[in-house]
């Protein structure tokens, strides 16, 4: 065994040999090697692991990693129109300031006695999202929208005792795969078609697929393809007619201008917090939420932690704690509790809270309106290009919209490649997930796009299509 000691590492105070000696003496051992005597020899590694040599200094480490990262081309230095589940919105400075505060960044599982601020911030986050979706109960965030939707369906299944859920065919395939895996093996997901011209959920097909076996109807608003699903109330009514649960997935940044699903019959609302002050992070910014009314039958089915407010032994003092803790897998019932809980995305929850507190009602209204205006402008300008149809569907869009390139006789892939050369990231290529649409792409326009940006896209596309 030739493993050499590693002395005085800045991250390991007790790597100092003298200290080790003192501590070893205290526990009655002679050498560090003795520490692992509990592990049988035949299980022990005989050689050093084959890893790159440690970088010798923080400076070199930084330069090394920065050199690698420089190979990335960012949405800041380029013009990005990708959305499809991860959206480029403006992140207020205050959001980054708060989530980089060491205390929040490095806290974990303490009690409210130690981590009072964490509990309050997450309680407030719950409350703020509650106002946005107009519901009384919101969970401490889960992984992402996909997980939130999957859990919503499992909740519905437990509440109704049923094993089928109806979902739209026109949804994000990745999200569908998450839900499918998480609902396996017992819950079946049944896909409902959309209306060809409008993209709206096909109510005829839906009626055929809903039955007494249906635990829930899950749909999204705005839909994955960016338009506003207009028949929310009808869909919810249909669910309720069969004593099924109406679950709506929502992009929270739309809720300054769009009706919250609770107001058109949703029993469970879920969605992604990433638009609310969280960087895209190559998809690492996603964070799921679930919201319901404050009814025991719903609350008791959440797998997540739910932070509640409560008094303390001192008058006038707020306290916080876990509501119905034993409901979770951290409670006494373990796997008999609801699904499972663990590390999720709490810091993004706190961040979304900061975002909503900063934006306020006016900010949320205005951002919704700005997004509507800018995306409509983009839609219209693109539609002026002869061979392009924009939007493909005859519905009102929010933020995203399908652009039809079929008439260009070029593939979206080709077009996007050319756009890339001009520093433009074109919309998501839909041709493999939605083969029936041929060559279409999902474009995303938010408050960060200026008129100049949009005009630049149009000009770039015109050039690309000319060549």
């Amino acid at each position: 065994m030739t493993i050499k000691g590693f002395k005085n590492h800045p991250y390991i105070p007790n790597s100092v040999p003298e200290v080790q000696k003192e501590m070893l003496e205290e526990i009655g051992l002679n050498s560090l090697e003795d520490l692992h005597e509990a592990i049988p020899d035949f299980l022990k590694l005989k050689n050093n692991m084959n890893l790159p040599k440690a970088i010798g200094s923080e400076y070199e480490l930084r330069r090394h990693v920065e050199d690698i990262l420089k190979k990335n081309k960012t949405c800041k230095d380029n013009l990005n129109f990708l959305g499809a589940g991860c959206w480029q919105h403006y992140v207020p400075a205050i959001c980054d300031e708060i989530n980089s505060r060491g205390e929040f960044l490095t806290a974990y599982g303490g009690e409210s006695y130690n981590d009072f601020g964490r509990f309050q911030a997450l309680f407030e986050y719950e409350s703020l999202v509650g106002e946005l979706v107009d519901m009384d109960v919101v969970n401490v965030p889960t992984m992402d929208w996909g997980q939130a939707a999957a859990t919503s369906i499992r909740m519905a299944s437990r509440i109704t005792g049923r094993k089928e859920a109806v979902v739209p065919k026109a949804m994000d395939n990745e999200k569908f795969l998450i839900m499918k895996n998480y609902c396996s093996p017992d819950i079946q997901l049944i896909q409902v078609d959309y209306v060809k011209g409008t993209g709206q959920l096909d109510l005829v097909d839906l009626k055929n697929k809903v039955s007494e076996k249906t635990a829930a109807i899950y749909f999204e608003n705005p839909s994955f393809l960016g338009f506003i699903e207009e028949d929310g109330q009808k869909i919810s009514d249909l669910a309720h007619k069969y004593d099924a649960i109406s679950i709506v997935g929502v992009d929270p940044i739309s809720l300054g201008v769009l009706t919250p699903p609770s107001q058109y019959g949703a029993d469970i609302i879920c969605g992604d917090l990433q638009p609310l002050g969280i960087h895209m992070n190559y998809g690492g910014g996603q964070s799921g939420f679930v919201a319901t009314r404050d009814e025991e039958k719903y609350v008791m089915e959440y797998p997540s932690r739910l932070f509640g407010i409560a008094p303390t032994s001192v008058e006038g003092e707020y306290g916080f704690g876990d509501v119905a803790f034993d409901r979770t897998s951290f409670g006494n019932l373990r796997e008999q509790g609801k699904e499972y809980v663990g590390t999720q995305t709490a810091l993004w929850g706190i961040t979304a809270g900061v975002y909503l507190a900063t934006m306020g009602p006016k900010g949320m209204e205005e951002i919704g309106q700005t997004i509507m205006q800018k995306s409509q402008y983009a839609t219209e300008r693109l539609n002026e290009i002869k061979s392009i149809k924009s939007p493909l569907f005859n519905s009102v869009n929010f933020k995203e919209f399908v652009v039809d390139f079929n008439e260009t006789h070029k593939t979206v892939q080709e077009i996007n490649k050319k756009l890339l050369e001009k520093g433009v990231f074109g919309g998501k290529d839909l041709s493999s997930d939605f083969p029936e649409l041929g060559q279409c792409a999902l474009y995303c326009v938010t408050e960060i796009h200026t008129k100049t940006d949009i005009d630049k896209l149009v000009a770039a596309l015109e050039e690309v299509l000319k060549s």
Partner: protein, 524 residues
Amino acid sequence: MKRINRSAKIRNFHQAKWDEPIIFELSKKGERGILVPQAEESIVKAVGDGISNIPNQMRRKESPNLPEISQARVLRHYMRLSQETLGADVNIEIGQGTCTVKYSPKVNEMLARLPEMTELHPLQDEGTVQGILEIMYQTDRFMCEISGMNRFSFQSGGGSQAVMTMASIVRAYHDEREEAQQRDEVITTIYSHPSDAAAPAVMGYKIIYIHPDENGFPDFEAFKAAVSKRTAAFIVANPEDTGVYNPRVKEFTDLVHSVGGLCGYDQANANGLFGVTRAKEAGFDMCFFNLHKSFSTPHGCGGPAVGAVGVVTELEKYLPGPLVDYDNEKYFMNYENSNTPYNIGKVRIFNGVAPVVLKAYAWIMSMGAEGLYEVAKIAVLNNNYLFKKLMEIECIDAPYIRGKQRIEQARYTLEKLTEDTGITSGDVQRRMMDFGMHYWTSHHPYYIPEPMTLEPTETPSKEDLDEYVAAIKQIVKEAYESPEIIKTAPHRSVCHKLDETSLDEPSEWAISWRSYLKKTDPID
């Protein structure tokens, strides 16, 4: 001037206490926290107000009842709340057993906050994300070397989801073999993490628990009795949170294999074993590492995080895709296994939490093989030093094997203290806060009575350990001399003892501010 006497061992601590209102109470009609970009006039001219064409029923009628607060006040509020949070950056992190809270170097955080990381869209063309792909690819290679596994996926957003991913793989594996119906049991141990039971249960598995023998090893005889053709998998931590390493682990995994089951290793808290022993040699088919624990990326109050799931070659095709590959010229997303018929699909959207992978990469690069080995040594040294010191306190005990070292953590019992004084482990927990310390009892149920679970990692110095022990000693002393101070603790925290009665009472609990307002009567 006389020298100031600093001989006291117990810190004269008080947590920042700001007595902050709930954010809604700060609202003042008309205040704004930020201004939002408006559409340019020429856009307005072209498209109008943008919202009139929203179908009426879908147009929000009343603005959301969010608070209206100026920016400085929002900032002040959250700054204060942050001070009221005992993050690892300000604290001696010993008292969160099985959480592996270690130092998260600031340089790594700064790297992860560069726009070259934060401003990447997950669907960008591969050619534009060669940097982050390289990091994911290399980290996969490192994880393989550390575990002996063959391929890693970084999709799982935490350890529990990693267990869920392992359980999904188990299901897919047996599905492909058409044994899924028959194999409906997952075996674990009572001291493995609750998620090792709960996540497989979501996937439809019955959970069989193995209890420890008198040494604290999972009882091999009971295990033999449990393993059968119904066994889908054995999912276990080793050591469990008792810190006792099961030396016969290979016999366990062999037995499971002999009946056609799979073995998944919960390596959330792997840092006591880096470079010492690996999943592969112990016979596991899968394992996972919590990058936010053993690999030092910060916990963020509970995520975002990564549970990196590694598998042997045979299981690679089940891993959620895409995986990152390299063709000697460029890195690319490999969708091959996503397209295999029994692939589990996805567990998290896109490519997992890449900044966490980046931080783990940077940490590994600052350690190398020798550094990781040193981490393992010192984590174990620290734990056993702490163990020795605590066991010298009369009313503290730790069940199970003596003589051998615990690995990186241990579960103790304060049963005797409770018997002698009535002070419970929960009481001690609250009192520890008065000295600025985390303290954790254990997961539920309390198989060990009045449990206390501590995990020092390699981060604290000997002085830190001594300070922690001194605080425990002080509390033990108080328990015998003046227990009231403990029962009424904390005294130096943001809040005092919680009145928990409402939390389990549907008519009273309040999970949001609006709910609280509805359920309580105004004070006049």
